[in-house]
């Protein structure tokens, strides 16, 4: 940054300070403030003084971000190699700093550019992985298992294993039974709830382990403190006088109610003698909400007989009523007071009832056991999730007690840690940082630098807790204090937009930060870009929801933008992908090309359905729907009438049998239409072949080849081939020996895959979720669907909050069929507040993606005399500030039932045929073969499976080896003692080779017997004798019948000028076989092989006569072959 620019940038001083490598900072960097550049500059600054690059650890939120940061850092170094100073002033600072780093790199021989792996820039997940990989024992994982992104299947397995214990004698059985009863005996529901809990176990496990010892009392006192504190703060807001007044009025109303016989909503005031200030008054306070608030939490407008103020009463009573009405009117105009009253609504009782407590205990018992089951599943599958890795890494670090041990364990101590996107940090990550900075002291040269924007914390569903940002700014991390810095410059958005942000958001964001509900205040921005003449923000709100109308407006806006600025980038951002369905449909219909990232589910594509049907049909003969679907799919397209013939209305046999096994096929075929007959003739052989290949080839191959042969690729659209490829990959993942273990997995897998993007669309128009858009920017941003509400929170087994002041608030799921109890509900209320704050931030993130223009679209509902967006919609968060300027568009609120179109199927035309495909290249390159392969093929007939043949082989090997030893050593006789020693050795060898213990004696005996017989016989002695040019296991190669042959010959020598080539065979005649027959059989079997040996030798020694023979040591028999 040049001096001149620095003066322009409002926060230049802060930026300069952030590069002080001796200090730790927490930096709030709002949207568009250029924090990546700042991070890179700081890393460069650190490298310039580091002893080794490994001292610096930079943690990013995604792998993509890590890659980008690394690239930018390396680019900076690359650019710095050139002596030419860059022109752009803000690049100059980076350039200069990078030059210093290059010098240091040189001096220390780092070779960063050639060895970028030294740069420790990574996600927290990969960092945890590398930690736990370094500490297999103390991280308790052992050598690192595979890590999976999608561990749903594993959670499911663990939950089912746990539930299976219901029928066991284990003590968990009772807890399971209780929870089942609690949940109306819905096993699958309990399973799903456990699955959901397992996925977030990092959040609750520490609480549950802690609460295992805790008594009811401790948990209840946390509740109580929480309730009392809330009441207290309400009381203070209302003030002493008001409280006194309230007490008086409530006593009055309660007495009235008690007399009148209507339900006394102020029951606790009956006979009450206190003064509403003591802590035990919370019950009175709670009942006051009934008097002061209506059912939907607004201040009551009038009181009546049901609230204890009967009409037409005496003067004194009328005065009381008057007083009450005045007080209410006063509350209604004071938002602070009314909020304080609303805060009391639904505060819990301070004790658990019996059922709740029992449920809570069961869960405290069960959930840790579910984690144990999960560990077992991890163990047997060899896969874990990231939660496990992070947990292990943290536990391992936690178990290291001194900084010295940490150093020994990791060797390379980390001196500087930078964390990006710190607003989305989770408790586990936060605790990890605490562990890593163990023993750090202020000013010892080690620094922590965390950057983020609390206003952009939107990953609560991934356990991000924005409260940790606030906490860190306040308290530091561990022993490290961080100085807060705030960036304000917005380099991205034009001044018009920044003005709008600065105007709108302060009204929406809370004034003060609050860790409990995750509230953060707005930090105003300073525009760097000049104001553009066009209107920065357009608001398009509809009265009543009509997705088609809204989508059409989106289309108009897109077209306008393209017209105004053909090269500009446009993004349509939504909260959830379902909000896009209509828009995408419209884009498609109007031929507007767009890029969609991970939005179209693969399961929405016909090609996916067709391949799934094909898979199911090929794997299951009984799946008639799949079979008919294959016949109906576009590669065949049989008519319904023909399908009727094939299924044989009368026969009730499954389609598969009718097509392949029906005895009356002729009759059946003749009933088909000519067309149908042709179609069946075409596809039947393909399907038949595929069924026969099942198991022999991979599942993918099985299905893909059938799909190709049927002409599948000829019936898909442009993205169909890559969609199909995705599906085939899924099949590869699910392959279980060429089959599927569970068909539902296929369906489930499908809902996790996204269809391929349109390969022809350019990058100008992009469609994505707001979460995906984080970190990106576009000229024009369109935000449709602001009026829509997200799906409601699902029920969880436990609700918990770690209250910063009062400890753990915990509530079990209420029993099925009953309403939520107040503990569960009030914890839910806090969680909902967190959600609401996050919704607001989500809107902030979406809006601040825009460089030039922002379009807001949404709908409101008219309820009574008001027009309002639905609660918890994005629009609801901004409504108050935009309502005035918004003009409502009307929609056609009664869209007529679009009548269903006439249906069609499509199919390959009759003229189509499979194109001629090239034949294989590479059919062999004359690789050598062994002699036994040349002479005979292994027979593929499935004999009865047995292990006996293996034993025979081992005996053969042993005999060969010993005969070789004998011949080599020239030994001819042994004493019995010597033989005993040999026998012992043979026994050990056989056992090592794999002869089972119970067979060892007999096998050893057989080997010894062979050896003895050979040594005892003259023939044997002759064979082993040291003849001329003798050898064992002689290696000879050569060309026989134009093929290259490699031979190993058991025994060969020259005797009497004859070259003998001998093969040992340890076989023996079968039970009732005569020796003659046996020899005939064996000769027939081996003569080819022996013949090759003799040919080789005659080629090697052309002048000598060569004879081949078989020797059978087990029966001491000799057979010359080929005579």
């Amino acid at each position: 940054m040049s001096e001149s620019q620095k003066t322009h940038i409002a926060d230049a001083a802060q930026r300069a300070k952030a590069l002080d490598v001796k200090q730790s900072f927490i930096v709030q960097a709002p949207a568009g403030s250029g924090k990546t550049e700042l991070l890179i500059q700081r890393i460069l600054a650190l490298l310039a003084v580091a002893e080794s690059p490994e001292e610096i650890l930079a943690i990013t939120f995604t792998r993509k971000a890590a890659g980008e940061m690394k690239s930018r850092l390396l680019e900076a170094l690359d650019r710095a190699t050139s002596d030419e100073m860059p022109h752009a002033s803000h690049e100059r600072e980076t350039w200069a700093r990078a030059r210093v780093v290059l010098e240091r790199d040189h001096a220390c021989n780092w070779n960063l550019q050639e060895n970028p792996a030294r740069l420790q820039i990574m996600t927290i997940d990969s960092f945890c992985s590398s930690l736990s990989r370094r500490m297999p024992w103390i991280a308790r994982l052992g050598d690192q298992p595979g890590v999976t992104d999608d561990a749903e299947e594993l959670y499911l397995q663990a939950a089912e294993n746990l539930l299976a214990k219901l029928e066991s004698d284990s003590h968990s059985s009772q807890s399971i039974a209780f929870m089942l009863q609690h949940l109306d005996n819905r096993v699958t529901q309990l399973r799903q709830l456990i699955v959901a809990m397992l996925a977030r176990r990092d959040q609750w496990i520490r609480h549950l382990i802690d609460s295992q010892g805790q008594s009811k009392h401790i948990l209840e006192s946390a509740l109580e403190s929480f309730v009392i504190a809330t009441v207290d703060s309400t009381r203070q807001t209302l003030g002493q006088a008001t409280c006194q007044q309230l007490l008086e009025l409530a006593m009055f109303a309660s007495a009235n109610l008690d007399q009148s016989g209507v339900k006394n909503i102020l029951e606790p005031f009956v006979g009450y003698t206190g003064d509403l200030t003591e802590p035990s008054a919370h019950l009175q306070w709670l009942s006051l909400t009934n008097l002061l608030l209506t059912g939907n939490d607004s201040i009551r407008k009038r009181v009546d007989v049901n609230t204890g103020f009967p009409p037409n009463a005496a003067a004194e009573e009328a005065a009381m009523k008057e007083k009450m009405q005045l007080l209410l009117a006063h509350f209604a105009t004071d938002p602070e007071k009314s909020a304080a009253i609303v805060a009391l609504r639904g505060l819990p009782a301070v004790s658990y009832d019996e059922q709740q407590w029992h449920a809570l205990q069961s869960l405290i018992d069960l959930l840790p056991l579910a984690v144990v089951e999960l560990r077992n599943v991890f163990r047997s599958s060899g896969r874990v999730d990231f939660v496990e890795i992070a947990g292990s890494a943290r536990a391992a670090l936690g178990s290291i007690e001194t900084p010295e041990d940490l150093l020994l364990q990791l060797d390379n101590s980390i001196k500087h840690i930078l964390v990006d996107e710190f607003q989305d940090t989770s408790y586990t990550q936060y605790a990890l940082l605490q562990n890593l900075t163990l023993g750090w002291e202020q000013g010892d040269g080690r620094t922590l630098f965390v950057v983020g924007d609390p206003m952009q914390s939107i990953y609560r569903f991934r356990e991000a807790d924005v409260g940790l940002f606030l906490k860190t700014a306040k308290d530091g991390i561990g022993t490290v204090d961080l100085e807060p810095l705030g960036l304000t410059a917005n380099f991205r958005s034009q001044a018009g937009l920044v003005d709008w942000f600065n105007q709108t958001f302060p009204q929406l964001f809370p004034r003060n930060g609050d860790m409990l509900v995750g509230a953060v205040p707005y930090a105003p921005a300073d525009a760097v870009q000049a104001k553009l003449p066009l209107g920065a923000v357009s608001q398009n709100y509809f009265l009543g929801r009509n997705d088609t109308d809204e989508s059409e407006r989106v289309l108009e806006l897109v077209r306008e933008s393209i017209k105004n600025e053909p090269d500009g980038s446009i993004a349509v951002l939504v909260r959830s992908r379902t909000h896009l369905l209509e828009i995408i449909r419209l884009f498609n219909q109007h031929g507007v090309p767009y890029q969609a990232q991970d939005l179209d589910l693969l399961s929405d594509r016909p090609v996916a359905h067709d391949i799934v049907a094909l898979t199911r049909a090929l794997l299951h003969s009984g799946d008639s729907v799949a079979w008919l679907s294959v016949l109906r799919a576009p590669w065949c397209g049989m008519t319904l009438d023909d399908l009727l013939v094939l299924t044989g209305e009368k026969h009730k046999a499954p389609v598969f049998n009718r097509i392949f096994n029906d005895p009356d096929q002729v009759e059946m075929f003749s009933a088909l239409s000519i067309e149908g007959h042709r179609l069946l003739d075409r596809i039947r052989p393909v399907l038949k072949r595929a069924i026969q290949q099942k198991g022999r080839v991979s599942l993918r191959q099985l299905v893909e080849s059938a799909w190709l042969a049927l002409g599948g690729p000829a019936v898909v659209d442009e993205s169909g081939l890559s969609d199909a490829e995705q599906l085939f990959r899924l099949l590869d993942q699910l392959d279980a020996g060429g089959d599927l273990l569970c068909f539902d997995e296929l369906e489930r897998g499908l809902t996790r895959l996204y269809a391929s993007a349109d390969p022809t669309a350019g990058p100008n128009l992009q469609v994505m979720t707001i979460h995906k858009a984080k970190g990106l920017e576009f000229d024009t941003v369109i935000l449709p669907g602001l009026g829509r509400t997200p799906r409601r929170d699902e029920k969880t087994l436990l609700r918990w909050i770690e209250h910063p002041d009062y400890g753990l608030l915990l509530a079990p799921v209420p029993p099925s069929g009953e309403d939520e109890d107040d503990i569960y509900r009030s914890i839910g209320k806090i969680l909902r507040q967190r959600d609401e704050h996050e919704t607001l931030r989500l809107f902030y993130v979406a809006a601040t993606r825009a460089r030039k223009q922002l379009h807001l679209l949404g709908h409101v509902k008219s309820s009574g005399d008001e027009e309002k967006p639905e609660a918890s919609s994005l629009l609801a968060t901004v409504w108050e500030s935009v309502a005035e300027e918004a003009t409502l568009l009307t929609v056609d609120d009664n869209p007529e039932e679009a009548s269903l179109q006439k249906a069609y199927i499509r199919r390959l035309p009759a003229q189509w045929h499979l194109p001629e495909l090239p034949q294989s290249v590479c059919t062999g390159d004359g690789q050598s073969v062994s002699a036994s392969e040349v002479s005979g093929d292994p027979s593929f007939s499935a004999s009865r499976f047995s292990l006996r043949s293996e034993e025979g082989r081992l005996i053969g090997v042993s005999v060969h080896r010993w005969l070789e030893t004998f011949a080599g050593q020239g030994v001819t006789t042994f004493t019995p003692e010597q033989f005993n020693r040999i026998a012992k050795k043979i026994g050990l060898e056989l056992s090592q080779a794999g002869v089972p213990a119970d067979r060892l004696a007999s096998c050893t005996a057989r080997v010894v017997d062979c050896l003895k017989r050979t040594l005892d016989s003259d023939k044997g002695q002759w064979i082993l004798a040291p003849h001329l040019d003798h050898a064992c296991e002689k290696a000879v190669s050569g060309i026989v019948d134009e093929r290259l042959v490699h031979a190993s010959i058991d025994r060969t020598f020259i005797d009497d000028n004859i070259r003998w080539v001998i093969d040992y065979k340890t076989s023996t005649p079968a039970k009732d076989e005569s020796l003659e027959l046996f020899l005939q059989r064996e000769t027939a079997h081996y003569q080819g092989q022996v013949h090759i040996y003799t040919r080789l030798f005659s080629q090697l020694e052309p002048d000598r006569s060569v004879k081949g023979a078989l020797y059978f040591p087990a029966i001491d028999t000799w057979k010359v072959v080929g005579e």
Binding site: A117, N185, A626, S705, L721, S920, C922, G994, P996
Partner: protein, 890 residues
């Protein structure tokens, strides 16, 4: 083609050649053979060319210690035991024992190979754990007299030093990038003993013609590479082509697909099973091969079998009579699934299977498995192996189909693995069944299975395997900046400082850089034409070019046409024909069609659905989940209430009962309901679940009966009676849950629902809940006092009657606003008008079906289809295109 005449000359003189890899041995052997053939020889002595390791193993047999050497699986097994024991002894937990043992073994070997060690002073806790294991191991070795296989090479050196082993010839070392200290000391020993030791490296000294290609992504990268390779191979079948990748594992499946696409397009369409047209160095685990997977499944089946496992067994080709009964077993599965049992104990399976017509060959398999699971003894692994083999035999494994060559090889290899179990007899005590099956599972996972390939012209290898090999053309994939050098991966069991001291691999950044440079130099020299490529983008992440390749020029390959079948077939497409045939032949038979209720119901929901379900007889197969499904729970409620009212029969008598009496009675009838369900299914519920369900039923019954109490008096006329009726051509058999006679003498016809009933389903032309309307056809309007759904729900507020009644006050909380509004809108002010409307609408639905209506017209486009099993058949997901297709003229 071979440039290393020196090496060949030495071999001819009888030198031994020791290589870094098997593959290199083969290549040198091939070069040698070729030179012999070229020199006109017809036969020759084969020189000794083998991997260093094999040579050592061969030599050691001549020493007296050979029987004491453990196999590496034995050693691995023992290390696992040691670690397992240590885990228990230190009251620790370790997720992965086997891989940990492998890593620890690796550490042990490293220390041996680098002649290194470390002390507790420099050890952190992980290192100390390793020292403990090492200690135990060495004690064990000396106690038992065993020898660790990774120390063989040292024994050889020593034996050479003392003259026990004599190496007569010269020794050539080929293809080593690096020699570790023990290897160096072997060379020293050889030299001291008088052998000439020659080291051959980079044996091709060609002027390389190298370049770099940046591909947009991995897929394109591999595609380009495959086309390039095919082009070269097709041009000249003699050239050797190498494909190398630093992370071959991650490229493997992509390479496999794309190379098959390009090399054997015609074969790919035939489904493979032929010989692979290239040689890829990574095999798949043996456990994944069809027959082996099946064998493992049979051996590891749990005592309780899930419906998916059973289905798998019924479909596998690898058990007896599988092919012969393929069609029948599919049907058995479909029928068994209808029982909606998620799992069943194996021993109960046979009975349940028989009740759905299973073939006996299959139940024999079940018998064999039940038998097998009875063996609970502890035995030596070798004995278990026998037992496993026998069990497989009695299951008829590997099936009644002729085996393909690949299957045959896999079966054979599995036989080896099983037989190999006996090698553990020497190092293990008796073990139980599950331990042994786990062992087999692991061994088959570790054993790689390589399908046969038809030749080695194209070799696809990892970096290390390519050591010393020579090619005519070489392509190195995946060479982006992050690929080489890689981040450090030191062995976690040795202190890093110790590893750096000895320059062990993967422990020091500069050593890795240096190594990477040497590798690249070696690769660059190993062919006359080397291409390095890297993907710009990997899963959305931008890569950078590797700086080590900076000196190379980018090259532009000519765009070669793809041979891949899918694009070719895609290219052959023609405009598709369109058909709209949703009116099929009417039913021929004039006889009334049975199953009328279901037909009308489906017809109302969607005519195509009625057609597919009832004329094509096609239903999706069910996949039952654990616990009790909604349908069973509904049936149980029906039965319970039926039993409850069976002898009470009137409101008056009911009102006389005390709560206790009611509860007591409910528990009894709930039990009866469960028992009835079990009898129908021929399978008992697990006992605790059963108990819970009875409690739940009784509780729900009690909540419901509260509603009955507040009614005006009634008598029960009948319960769960079957009624038959023919309307038009459809025959109906409806079971009416209950008919009450009301105070005024009229009848209330009642249908229990455990879901949320919606009486709107009774009205309009699409009566998707037709039971009661059908029954009403039998009666005079005036006999009917009320037609009601009785919602029996777990939430008390949801327990209520809904429907129409002449005197609504008889049923507290009856009228729902929505229903009233609907009725008024349709001008139905009296119950009679409603009843009349049914008399019109029902036959219409029936006639449409009979006349062959198969229109796709779901009553609710979202919900009806969501729960329909026919979407793949009716192709409703193409509905968005119909309008467009209509305008197309083909």
């Amino acid at each position: 083609m071979n440039n290393n005449s020196d090496l060949l000359k030495r071999l001819l003189e009888g030198d031994v050649c020791l290589t870094a890899t098997n593959r290199l041995s083969r290549q040198i052997m091939a070069d040698y053979d070729q030179s012999m053939v070229a020199s006109g020889k017809m036969a020759w002595d084969r020189p000794m060319i083998m991997p260093l390791e094999s040579w050592c193993r061969q030599l050691i047999t001549s020493l007296d210690i050979s029987e004491r050497i453990l196999t590496s699986s034995q050693a691995a097994f023992l290390w696992e035991t040691i670690i397992q024991k240590d885990v228990v002894a230190s009251d620790h937990e370790l997720l992965q024992i086997t891989p940990t043992a492998r890593k620890a073994r690796q550490a042990y070997k490293l220390l041996h190979d680098f002649q290194a060690g470390f002390t507790t002073d420099e050890a952190a806790e992980d290192h100390r754990a390793f020292l403990r294991w090492q200690n135990t191991w060495e004690k064990m070795l000396s106690e038992k007299g065993w020898i660790d296989p990774c120390t063989i090479i040292s024994f050889i050196s020593k034996a050479i030093d003392v003259g026990k082993i004599k190496v007569e010839s010269g020794v050539i070392f080929a293809g080593f990038d690096d020699f570790n200290p023990v290897q160096k000391s072997l060379q020293d020993s050889l030299q001291t003993a008088g052998c000439t030791v020659v080291i051959v490296n980079d044996h091709a000294s060609t002027t390389a013609n190298n370049g770099v290609i940046a591909a947009p992504d991995n897929t394109t990268e591999v595609e380009q590479c495959a086309r390039w390779a095919r082009g070269l191979a097709a041009e000249n079948p003699e050239v050797r082509i190498g494909i190398v990748a630093p992370h071959l594992e991650s490229y493997k499946s992509l390479i496999y697909q794309k190379f098959l696409d390009e090399f054997d397009p015609a074969g790919k369409v035939l489904g493979g099973g032929q010989l692979l047209p290239f040689n890829i160095s990574l095999g798949d685990p043996l456990a994944n091969e069809g027959p082996v997977f099946a064998a493992l499944k049979l051996l590891t089946l749990a005592r309780t079998v899930s419906v998916d496992e059973l289905s798998w067994l019924l479909r596998t080709p690898y058990i007896q009579a599988a092919s012969a009964s393929y069609g029948q077993r599919g049907l058995t599965d479909v029928k068994f699934r209808k029982k909606r049992l998620a799992e069943l104990p194996l021993w109960k399976l046979k009975g349940a299977l028989k009740s759905v017509g299973c073939d006996t060959a299959f139940t024999d398999v079940i018998d064999a498995l039940v038998d097998f699971q009875k063996s609970r003894s502890k035995d030596l692994p070798g004995i278990w192996a026998e037992r496993f083999a026998r069990t497989l035999q009695s299951c008829g494994w590997p099936g009644d189909r002729t085996l393909s060559s690949r299957e045959y090889q896999a079966v054979d290899k599995f036989r080896e693995v099983l037989a190999g179990l006996a090698t553990f007899d020497a190092v293990s005590g008796p073990v139980d069944r599950s331990f042994t099956t786990a062992l087999v599972q692991r061994l088959t996972n570790e054993a790689t299975f390589q399908a046969e390939s038809s030749g080695s012209q194209v070799q696809i290898l990892g970096m290390l395997e390519a050591g010393g090999l020579h090619f005519d053309h070489l392509w190195v994939l995946g060479m982006h900046a992050g690929a080489m050098p890689q981040p450090l991966r030191p062995n976690p069991f040795i202190p890093l400082a110790a590893q750096r001291r000895k320059q062990m691999p993967h422990a020091d950044a500069n050593r890795e850089l240096d190594y990477a440079k040497r590798l690249i130099k070696r690769l660059s020299a190993s062919a006359s034409n080397v291409i390095y490529s890297w993907p710009l983008n990997e899963a959305g992440i931008q890569n950078r070019p590797g700086a080590l390749l900076n000196s190379l020029e980018p090259i532009d390959l000519p765009t070669l046409p793809s041979m891949a079948p899918a694009p070719a077939i895609f290219g052959s497409r023609r405009p598709l024909e369109k058909i709209s045939d949703y009116k099929v032949a009417p039913l021929i038979s004039k006889k009334p069609v049975s199953g009328g209720t279901a037909i009308v119901k489906d017809q109302a929901l969607c005519p195509f659905r009625a057609f597919a379900h009832h004329r094509l007889n096609s239903k999706g197969i069910e996949s039952p989940d654990i616990g009790l499904d909604n349908m069973t729970r509904g049936t149980l409620v029906h039965s319970m209430l039926e039993f409850f009212w069976a002898d009470i029969r009137s409101h008056q008598r009911f009102c006389q009962m005390t709560d206790e009496a009611i509860l007591e009675k409910l528990e009894k009838v709930a039990e009866m309901a469960v028992a009835r369900e079990e009898a129908v299914n021929k399978a008992d519920m697990p006992s605790r679940l059963r108990l819970l369900e009875i409690q739940r039923l009784a509780g729900q019954g009690f909540k419901w009966l509260e509603r009955e109490r507040n009614r005006s008096p009634f008598e029960i006329v009948e319960q769960e009676q079957l009624h038959e009726e023919t309307i038009g051509r459809l025959h109906f058999r409806t079971r009416i849950d209950r008919i009450d006679r009301l105070e005024d003498g009229t009848l209330a016809i009642i249908d229990y629902k455990t879901g949320q009933p919606d009486p709107l389903q009774w009205f309009g032309r699409r009566i998707s809940e037709p039971q009661l309307p059908i029954y009403c056809q039998k009666l005079e309007n005036s006999e009917i006092g009320a037609v009601l759904f009785a919602a029996v729900r777990s939430k008390p507020a949801e327990c209520r009657f809904s429907g129409i009644a002449r005197t609504p006050e008889m049923f507290p909380k009856l009228n729902e606003r929505q229903l009233q509004k609907f009725l008024t809108e349709n001008g139905w002010n009296t119950i009679d008008q409603v009843l009349d409307s049914w008399r019109e609408a029902l036959p219409e639905l029936g006639n449409a079906f009979v006349n062959g209506d198969a229109t796709i017209d779901p009553v609710d486009k979202v919900d009806t289809c969501k729960y329909c099993d026919l979407a793949t058949l009716c192709r409703i997901h193409e509905a968005d295109h119909w309008a467009q297709w209509e305008d197309e003229n083909v």
